[in-house]
């Protein structure tokens, strides 16, 4: 995950507390989404950014997993095309793994 975004997420967690935050991912590739979910939960596995060795314990969800939480018309307009294109099951599975 981008080093700058790691810092932003760390700052937000410091400000609001981990119980008041979830991370919503919109990535298009399972491995990259898993990496992001891992970074915000157990720390940056590449040990390159501000979250290296920092366990924020945040829960990450991919937008595909939140389909039932949003207005179906908005979902259809914004996401449905990508649902056809991306490997939704692989992405969801990968992200779920880091929520314990």
């Amino acid at each position: 995950m981008d080093l700058e975004n790691q810092q932003r997420i760390k700052d937000l967690t410091d400000k609001y507390g981990k119980d008041n935050l979830v991370v919503v991912l919109g990535g298009g590739e399972a491995e990259a989404c898993g990496l992001a979910a891992e970074t915000v939960s157990t720390g940056d596995p590449t040990f390159a950014g501000p979250l290296a060795g920092v366990q924020l314990g945040l829960k990450a969800y991919h937008m595909f997993e939140l389909k039932d939480e949003v207005d179906p018309a908005v979902y259809d307009e914004q996401i449905s095309m990508m649902e056809m294109v991306l490997d939704k099951d692989a992405i969801n599975k990968e992200v779920q793994e880091y929520r314990g």
Binding site: A32, E77, Q78, S80, M82, L86
Partner: protein, 512 residues
């Protein structure tokens, strides 16, 4: 309405393994922050030879010796299955070695910033001057005999004056100096990137003249569309690369300017070039860009982790000639331009609607009416191991999915459509270089051979990288077969005046 035409293209690559090691931004940061890192230690074992680079299928597709679709017939990974008897010379351009490129850097340097060891300089000056393309079209080759230096002097410039080293097979042969003592816009880092971009752009422009029916003094306007910025601290990206590159090739009748929009800039520039020609402002416009040293080895850590060679080891460059309708070259349909508007929204669906569906629907066409699309043509062997996926394939799937949503295709057809409208990615990840336009050379051939009628070229840009806006950017244009119609049917003002006068006369006569 008569349209401008796509008259010719040139595509060039420069193999630069030593620049990758020392000036690629990832490697440079690693040297600064973790000089003992395992990645840096692993680099030498993962560099490719010039022969490997020449034989690499995607590179042969870029310079035009094979079609990108031919990559489907080469066993993967492509880097383990080089083409036999591959040539540095292609239909659309060529591949240059690093030693030759250092000579080119010297030949484009107007401010004595490139310093070469005297014996290397003498040897390489000869090679550059004897090159059938550079030697013929570059008019600044006298620079190759100026201010030869010694390795000792080069070392002291690096140690004491912050110069950036030029290595060849790990041996120090030169350096690039800073252009000002404390101006952050003229550091040796910045000058290195700018001279690399200029020299590689001038190489592509020379190839455009060599491979097409266009002479340097026929060019009226140059549009440069890389992602670099040149200027000093008071005007950090003031420009102008375009004129500086045209000067190298003796385009004495041309002026020019730079267009910027990250990776979308080449497509913007093509639309601008087409408009300038169609409006009659200029007859011959060249859109061009050199390569980026910063991006060399950009995904190197992932490549080393997966034990594959560092295949981001080439600078890419291109030059494209847009001219007046000649009745045979493919036309650029300036009436079908797709644009991602400020109000379009950033969801992929909104982007594809704006740049793919909207312009076609406006012209009474559908996705089905476009034979081949070319969007972000990054080589998947570079991006997949880095977790970015197969970008061309993702674009084709998005276009097909959009077609399905619009009921142009059946859902079951998705994979078949992707196959039909697409091709594998074949272009190095040099930012603006893979963005749509590398297909234009092949497109001219396919259209003129009657293999396809129409193609859509798409440029997409990530503007958030500049930290000024979160807006996305995208633009598309259509190239299609020329129907041979070159006359402008539109009526001019004098004709209208005459028609009105005649009508009034008839009306007056009727009152008599």
């Amino acid at each position: 309405m008569t349209f401008p035409v796509l008259k010719g293209t040139a595509y060039t690559l420069v193999h630069t393994p030593d620049i990758l090691v020392h000036e690629g931004k990832l490697q440079e940061s690693e040297m600064r922050n973790s000089p003992d890192s395992d990645y840096l230690k692993a680099i030498p074992d993962h560099l490719r030879s010039f022969e490997d680079v020449v034989g690499y299928g995607p590179n042969q597709a870029y310079i035009g010796n094979i079609h990108p679709r031919d990559l489907n017939n080469i066993e993967k990974p492509w880097y383990e299955h080089p083409l036999e008897n591959a040539s540095t010379e292609g239909k659309f351009g060529s591949i240059m070695s690093e030693d030759m490129f250092y000579g080119c850097l010297k030949a484009v340097d107007m401010f004595e910033l490139v310093v070469l060891d005297a014996s290397f300089q003498e040897k390489i000056a000869k090679k550059v001057k004897e090159d059938p393309v550079i030697g013929k079209y570059w008019v600044t080759l006298d620079k190759l005999t100026e201010n030869p230096s010694s390795v000792d002097e080069i070392k002291s410039l690096i140690e004491e004056k912050d110069a950036k080293p030029l290595y060849l097979d790990n041996e120090l042969v030169g350096c690039i100096k800073r252009a000002h003592e404390f101006d952050a816009a003229l550091t040796s880092d910045v000058m290195f990137e700018n001279l690399v971009s200029k020299a590689s752009g001038a190489y592509a422009l020379a190839e455009l003249f060599a491979k097409n029916d266009l002479e340097p003094d026929d060019v009226d306007y140059l549009i440069e569309c890389s992602e670099e910025g040149c200027g000093d601290m008071f005007q950090r990206a003031g420009g102008n690369y375009a004129k500086s590159i045209g000067e190298i090739c003796g385009c004495v009748n041309a002026t020019g300017s730079d267009t910027r929009s990250f990776c979308a800039a080449p497509a913007h520039s093509m639309v601008e070039a087409s408009a300038l020609v169609q409006a009659g402002v200029y007859s011959n416009v060249v859109v061009l860009a050199g390569g980026s040293s910063a991006k060399l080895g950009m995904n190197g850590k992932d490549h080393v982790k997966k034990d594959q060679p560092l295949i981001e080891d080439c600078l890419g460059a291109f030059a494209i000639h847009v001219g007046e309708n000649d009745g045979k070259s493919p036309v650029i349909r300036t009436d079908i331009v797709g644009k991602h508007k400020i109000g379009s929204g950033a969801a992929p669906q909104a982007i594809m609607q704006a740049i793919v569906a909207d312009p076609l629907e406006h012209a009474g066409l559908s996705i089905k009416d476009v034979d081949v699309f070319s969007a972000e043509m990054q080589n998947p062997e570079i991006t997949v191991p880095a977790g970015a996926g197969d970008i061309p394939s993702a674009n084709y799937k998005m276009i097909a999915a959009l077609g399905i949503m619009k009921k142009v295709f059946a859902r079951s057809e998705l994979n078949e459509v992707v196959e039909r409208i697409g091709m594998p990615g074949f272009v190095p990840t040099q930012g603006h270089i893979p963005s749509g336009v590398p297909f234009l050379g092949h497109a001219i051939e396919m259209i003129e051979n009657g293999d396809i009628h129409r193609t859509m070229i798409i440029g997409k840009g990530s503007l958030f990288l500049g930290r000024l806006t979160n807006l996305f950017d995208g633009i598309s244009f259509i190239v299609e077969a020329n129907d041979g119609h070159v006359e402008d049917d539109s009526v001019d003002k004098d004709t209208i005046r005459q028609m009105i006068a005649e009508s009034m006369k008839q009306f007056a006569d009727s009152l008599k």
